[in-house]
């Protein structure tokens, strides 16, 4: 499998999505370099994680939450996507694995809360055809595709930092598992297990045999010391051994058991003899006892019979009396029976006589009624026939009439329809007529409106013109308004200016005053100074006169200097200017104001054109006029609108009128047609009605009904009479018949009666009664059932007596001459004999049991014995084989079969590895397997490696290699394994190798060799990636993947020198 690209998001130190493409490099050997902690190993972690769910290091497991990057917020989901291709024959198939580890994400529910929940990761696998693998065991599928488990992958394809020693130093057991998959030696493990299971089976068999034997042996009935068995001690010893422990001495035991069985047999036979003897004796005693018992019984019965006889002899008298009574009663009742018969017959005869008499009276009456009824009957019949004829004729007439009435009805319906139609048409035309009238009316209305407003348009236009013209005035008015406003403001400023002017004037005057004063003072002072200097005869500096009559004697000293004066002058001038400027402004304003007033006046005057007003009331006037004009305008425009509407309406109206008129015409025509139809149908109707017999249907039916009713009535009456006539006839007949019968039977009855009497008399005589009263008494006093009870009692007595007699006789016979026996003694004897017999019996049973059991045991044991021998032998073989195969033999060789086989394969790997190892170590070392003899001592070290130094020719353990040497050894072995895997062309094809550090522990020469070897390997199609910080490697290996890390996480970049 060869990696294509790997993409990491929020994984380890890679915050944002980082993709590393392995397909774009020119050489298959590349270096991953970067600063410490920049994220180089994380790339490998990502690859291993994508495939197996855990980061690369075997010792330092990282998975799940540990892998989530801390360089981005929790929002970003950590994910690794890894694409690789598998070459199957010529084609290569691309698989993509996306794996998300267990990570934390913020809770979506509350905003602003800092809750995180841990969400489980998931894995997706995309198959080469683009579909996703949807089974649950994605990890297993990936492992299947790659062909190696994680541990194996870490040995062969990825040599993690600091962990390359693992294969070297792993114990044989660990190595065995790793190689099992590589070399497909599972079959040997399977063989071992099968052998083990078979061994166990055999063990179970043996145990079963043992338990069976033991159970059999436990059944053996052991000899008691009392049995005086010869080999008693021996037997017991063996027996005890076999019961407790194993059955190795089975053979001996069997021999002894046989002997014991023989002795059992003899015992048994003896017992049998004794038993038989005992049986005999018992039999004899039993016989005797039986006899005695019988005798005793006879004595007993004799005694009882005697008792009874004594008892019953007392009753004899009473019994006799009873016998007599019984016989009398019997006779009496016989007689009675005959008497009863006679009495009955007599009664019957009497009754018959009565009946005959009655009937003789009844018969003539009945005959009379019969005659009467017959006459009536004939009358009624005649009536009925008559009525029937009448009815038939009426019915035919009525039928005809009904038909005619039907036709009339139809015709009437038609007529009705037509009339309706006619009516409807009439209403329609009326309606239409009305519509027309309405429309005409509205038409007139509209016309009127149009006339009225015909000139409205013109007027409106004129009004608009006026309005426009008038706007001028409005504008002017507005102007005036503006002007007034400005004037007001101007006024304000004017007043303001005036004030300022006043103030400025005041100021100026003040300044002026002060200046003058100062000047005076100064001049005075000056004058004073000058005055001082004035001398007579000298010209005055001022006026030049020589004479000075009035010399100024003023203030000489003044504190006013020329400067002061100048200052004051300046001030005064300023004020003056100020004043002047203000006055200028004021003048300007005044002028403006004047102008405004003039303008205003002009405007107002112009307004007179438009509107009349007085003086200043222009505004109101203008407003009024404006309002007026607006109103007019509105009115006229409204009129115009209305007239337009009316015009439109006018057209519509006219159209409507047209259509209505058309409709009206149509309807009128239709009406005419219908009227004709109506008259036609009416005439037809009249015809029909005249040609019928009956007035109406009703009448006809009524008549029919009447006729029928009459007929029915008479029919009913006839029926009645007929019935009663018949009945009367019948009655008469019956009576006559009856009478005849009775008369016939009467003489017979008489005879019978006489007979009966005779019999009775005879019987009475027979029974020895002379008079009736004799036997009648008895029958009255004693019930019939007394006879029965009496006879019962009698017979009981007789029975008992006979029984007792018989018994006595029998007993005497039994006893004969014998005496009464003593049973007790006999019973004792018998019991004794029984006991003895029982004892014998049980003794025999025991002996028999013992014999039979032991024989049975003996036989089965013999069977088991042969079985056991065979099984023991087999088991012995199996266990020795198994021990050897699984390396469990104590003492020597602990190498098991699988290790042995794997050694062969391992040798091949070491051959390949040594090719490189020798080069790397400059021919010093070679890797070997531990010697097979040595490797089995103590524990299974069959796969442990040794280092053979070619220099010294000696072997030493691999643990004695230095760090760098170990790295070279591990690298060589990894390469050797990779070669082996490739050569076998098995399911596994690993076209990549990543080596994480380790080069730093090599010196320059070894490192060069190592890199050279790797380059050779990469020369094929194997992708080799090296993580190293060694500077020289940057130079030697062309392609470089530079990993840098800043505050936002790691990033990678391909660098080509």
């Amino acid at each position: 499998m060869r990696p294509l690209y790997i993409e990491m998001t929020a994984f380890g130190s890679y915050g944002k999505r980082t993709k590393i493409d392995f397909t774009n490099i020119s050489q298959n050997l590349f270096l991953i370099s970067g600063e410490t902690g920049s994220g180089k190993t994380t790339i490998f972690d990502a690859i291993v994680f994508a495939l197996y769910g855990q980061a690369s290091s075997v010792k330092n497991e990282k998975k799940g939450l540990l892998l989530q990057s801390q360089f981005v917020s929790i929002q970003d989901k950590p994910m690794v996507r890894f694409a690789f291709e598998e070459k199957k024959g010529d084609s290569s198939q691309v698989y993509t694995v996306v794996r998300v580890p267990k990570h934390m994400r913020p809770k979506k529910v509350k905003k602003g809360s800092n809750d995180f929940i841990v969400e489980n990761g998931y894995t997706e696998l995309l198959l080469p055809d683009g579909s996703a693998y949807t089974e649950r065991n994605v990890d297993e599928k990936i492992e299947e595709i790659v062909g190696l488990s994680r541990e194996q992958f870490m040995q062969v394809a990825m040599i993690a930092q600091g962990e390359f020693m693992e294969v070297l130093r792993a114990t044989t057991d660990t190595k065995k598992e790793i190689f099992r998959k590589l070399f497909s030696t599972e079959i040997y493990e399977k063989i071992t297990r099968i052998l083990e299971s078979r061994k166990k089976e055999k063990e179970i068999e043996l145990a079963k045999i043992k338990t069976m034997c033991q159970s059999e042996i436990s059944r053996v009935i052991v000899p008691e010391p009392s049995n005086n068995f010869e080999y008693h001690e021996e037997f017991m010893e063996l027996h005890g051994l076999l019961m407790k422990e194993n059955i190795t001495n089975l053979k001996d035991y069997l021999k002894v058991l046989e002997k014991w069985c023989d002795s059992n047999d003899t015992d048994r036979k003896e017992c049998k003899k004794e038993l038989d003897a005992g049986k005999e004796r018992l039999k004899k005693i039993n016989d005797e006892y039986a006899k005695a018992q019988a005798l005793k019984a006879g004595f007993e019965s004799l005694r009882t019979a005697q008792d009874i006889l004594n008892q019953y002899s007392e009753k004899e008298e009473k019994i006799k009396k009873d016998r007599e009574l019984k016989s009398v009663l019997e006779r009496a009742y016989e007689v009675k029976a005959f008497y009863d018969g006679f009495a009955e017959n007599q009664a019957l005869l009497k009754k018959t006589e009565d009946e005959i008499r009655k009937m003789m009276n009844e018969i003539p009456e009945a005959k009379e009624t019969e005659e009467k009824l017959r006459i009536e009957n004939e009358e009624k019949k005649k009536n009925f026939d008559r009525e029937k004829e009448k009815y038939i004729s009426i019915k035919s007439k009525v039928d005809e009439a009904l038909k005619t009435f039907e036709k009339i009805k139809e015709k009437e319906k038609e007529y009705g329809h037509i009339c309706d139609k006619l009516e409807r048409k009439k209403t329609d035309s009326d309606r239409v007529d009305e519509d027309i009238k309405k429309e005409r009316a509205s038409l007139e209305k509209l016309n009127k409106i149009i006339e009225e407003y015909s000139d409205a348009r013109i007027k409106m236009e004129k009004c608009t013109g006026d309005l426009n013209y008038f706007m001028e005035a409005v504008r002017k008015c507005d102007n005036i308004h503006e002007l007034e406003q400005e004037m007001m403001s101007l006024n304000d400023s004017l007043t303001d200016l005036k004030n300022r002017l006043a103030m400025a004037k005041k100021e100026f005057e003040k300044q002026d005053d002060s200046y003058r004063r100062l000047n005076e003072i100064y001049i005075e002072g000056h004058l004073g100074v000058l005055a001082k200097e004035i001398e007579e005869g000298k010209p005055c500096p001022l006026c030049g006169s020589i004479e000075h009559p009035h010399i100024y004697s003023g203030n000489e000293e003044s504190d006013v200097s020329r400067d002061d004066i100048k200052k004051a002058e300046i001030k005064r001038n300023k004020c003056n200017e100020n004043l002047r400027s203000i006055s200028d402004e004021l003048a300007k304003c005044m002028a403006k104001y004047e102008l405004f007033i003039r303008q205003r006046k002009e405007n107002i005057e112009s307004l007179h054109e438009f509107v009349e007003f007085k003086g200043e009331e222009y505004a109101a006037a203008i407003e009024a006029r404006k309002h007026e004009l607006n109103e007019l305008h509105k009115r006229y425009s409204r009129e115009v609108k209305e007239s337009d509407i009316a015009k439109a309406g006018l057209n519509e109206c006219e159209k409507k009128i047209e259509s209505y008129t058309k409709q009206f015409e149509e309807l009128r025509q239709q009406t005419v047609v219908l009227r004709e139809e109506v008259s036609a149908s009416l005439s037809a109707l009249k015809e029909m009605k005249s040609g019928s017999n009956f007035e109406s249907e009703e009448e006809a039916r009524l008549q029919e009904r009447n006729a029928k009713k009459q007929m029915d009535d008479s029919g009913g009456k006839y029926e009645e009479v007929h019935k009663s006539y018949e009945m009367a006839k019948k009655k008469v007949q019956d009576l006559e018949v009856l009478l005849k019968n009775i008369q016939k039977s009467y003489p017979d009855m008489q005879e019978k009666c006489e007979q009966k009497e005779k019999l009775y008399m005879e019987e009475m005589k027979k029974q020895l009664f002379n008079k009736e009263s004799e036997w009648a008494d008895y029958t009255r006093n004693h019930e019939k059932n007394e006879i029965a009870s009496l006879s019962e009692t009698i017979s009981d007595y007789e029975r008992i007596m006979t029984e007792a007699k018989a018994k006595k006789k029998a007993a005497l016979e039994i006893i004969m001459d014998n005496e009464e026996p003593d049973l007790l003694k006999l019973t004792e004897q018998r019991e004794e004999a029984e006991e003895f017999l029982n004892e014998c019996d049980s003794a025999y049973m025991r002996a028999y049991n013992r014999y039979s059991t032991n024989m049975g045991v003996l036989k089965t044991l013999q069977g088991h014995f042969s079985n056991q021998e065979k099984t023991v032998r087999e088991y012995g073989k199996m266990i020795s084989l198994y021990r050897r195969i699984s390396g469990n033999v104590s003492g020597s060789n602990k190498i098991d079969l699988e290790t042995f086989v794997q050694r062969y394969y391992l040798r091949r790997i070491l051959y390949n590895a040594n090719k490189r190892f020798e080069i790397m170590t400059a021919g010093q070392f070679r890797l070997l397997l531990k010697d097979i003899d040595e490797a089995g001592k103590g524990k299974n070290e069959g796969l442990d490696l040794m280092v053979y130094s070619l220099v010294t020719g000696k072997k030493r353990e691999i643990r004695t290699l230095s760090g760098g040497e170990s790295f070279m050894a591990a690298l060589s072995i990894a390469l050797g394994m990779a070669d082996q895997i490739k050569a076998d062309n098995s399911i596994v094809q690993i076209d990549m190798m990543f080596i994480d550090e380790g080069f730093g522990s090599l010196d320059e020469h070894s490192r060069n060799q190592a890199v050279r070897i790797l380059k050779e390997m990469a020369g094929g199609d194997r992708l080799i990636g090296i993580i190293s910080h060694v500077t020289e490697l940057k130079h030697e290996i062309g392609e470089r993947l530079l990993v840098t890390k800043d505050e936002s996480g790691s990033s990678v970049r391909w660098v080509r020198e």
């Binding site: 050489q27 086989v901 400059a922 010093q924 053979y948 020719g953």
Partner: protein, 384 residues
């Protein structure tokens, strides 16, 4: 004009972790002697000055002395030096502008932008002018800028890059032109498999998959091409396109090669005379084969790789010491032993083993019954 062509000095190289400084200095002395003798007009060093891109201080000093000696030995000669794949381009280029003023032309960086061209030094002799083109080691990524490639487009191959660099120079081949270059030129058109036939040494850096191969026909029109990179002196397709090879053997694989320098005398156009002169190193690199007994008889100071042919186990405790005494500069000891043979036999025979046979091998003393039992077990395991 007389040209002296050497290359691949690899100053600072270590042979099996032994410092070769002394030997290198010796061989440089020999080269100086040759220079004195021949008095060439131009001395060309075609790359791989140092062994590492960051050479040690000693290495730099050694080169310093060597250059000084060359400079002193040749009064008016021009010294032309280019960087190779072992050197650091920038470092070689350092101070070249200053050195140029003193007839030393050191070029480390090839043209990178579209307005740059190969450094050309034009000299003249009695026949006219001779143009020397100094093309240091070119990696395609260095010269991307010349070919208007997009950022994401990969660089051209070595072959294509060199072709285009030469073509864009618009060299006037009517004049005499000499190229000094350091690449892996091969006459590809002659022989397809020549890549694998070329003898490479351990001390060279080989690319993976030989991606740095360049067809020699792009430089066929030069009058002489002084090449470096291959450590064994050889021609590349024509007489006038040569690798001078290293001045001395730098690895065990070069043991026995004849190392030296090349003198090329350029007459007028078309006239070229080439001579090779052998250099004798201070200590040779040799492989000594033989049994232990034979081997210890020899004693030498040369760099020796010992290959012991003894087939039996040597009962020698201090093999290393004895051999080290004989050979002061012992590089490595290799042995040929039986186990080598054993492995081979083993592997051939026990290739695909039937489990039952292996089991029999495991239990040499199995009887018939056992065998039957194991057979049934094996069958069950196989699922038969």
């Amino acid at each position: 004009m007389k040209l002296l062509h050497i290359s691949d000095l690899h100053i600072g190289i270590k042979l099996f972790n032994r410092d070769l400084k002394e030997d290198q200095q010796y061989i440089f002395g020999e080269i100086i002697k040759e220079i004195n003798e021949e008095q060439p007009d131009v001395i060309m060093i075609a790359g791989d000055i140092y062994d590492k891109s960051v050479p040690s201080a000693e290495a730099v000093q050694t080169f310093n002395e060597f250059l000084k000696d060359i400079y002193d030995a040749s009064e008016n000669a021009h010294i032309m030096i280019i960087s190779g794949n072992h050197d650091s381009a920038g470092r070689i280029e350092c101070f070249s502008w200053l050195l140029e003023k003193q007839r030393v032309h050191m070029v480390g960086i090839p043209p990178r932008k579209q307005d740059e061209y190969i450094k050309k030094v034009t000299l003249s002799d009695e026949y006219g002018i001779v143009n020397f083109y100094l093309l240091p080691f070119v990696k395609p990524s260095m010269v991307r800028g010349l070919f208007e490639l997009d950022e994401n487009e990969p660089s051209l191959s070595y072959n294509e890059s060199i072709k285009r660099i030469i073509e864009r120079e618009k060299i006037d081949y009517s004049q005499r032109n000499v190229l000094i270059s350091h690449q892996f030129y091969l006459p590809l058109s002659e022989n397809d498999n020549i890549v694998n036939q070329i003898e490479r040494a351990e001390s060279e850096i080989k690319s993976v998959g030989n991606v740095d191969v360049v067809d020699v026909r792009w430089i066929k029109d030069f009058d002489y091409a002084a090449l470096g990179h291959i450590h064994k002196p050889m021609k590349a397709g024509c007489d006038y396109i040569r690798y001078s090879g290293t001045p001395m053997a730098y690895s065990v694989s070069e043991a026995g090669q004849k190392k030296g320098i090349i003198i090329a005398e350029l007459g007028e156009k078309g006239n070229l005379n080439i001579r090779e002169k052998i250099l004798n190193p201070l200590r040779k690199v040799r492989v000594i084969k033989g049994t232990y007994e034979e081997v210890i008889k020899e004693k030498t100071d040369d760099y020796v790789s010992v290959y012991l042919t003894d087939t039996r186990d040597l009962e020698v405790i201090d093999l290393n010491e004895t051999l080290s005494e004989c050979f002061k500069n012992l590089l490595e000891i290799r042995r040929k032993t039986i186990e080598n043979i054993d492995y081979e036999i083993d592997i051939e025979q026990y290739d695909y083993k039937d489990p039952l046979e292996l089991i029999c091998r495991f239990f040499p003393d199995m009887d018939e019954e056992d065998r039957k039992l194991m057979e049934s077990v094996v069958n069950e395991a196989k699922g038969v």
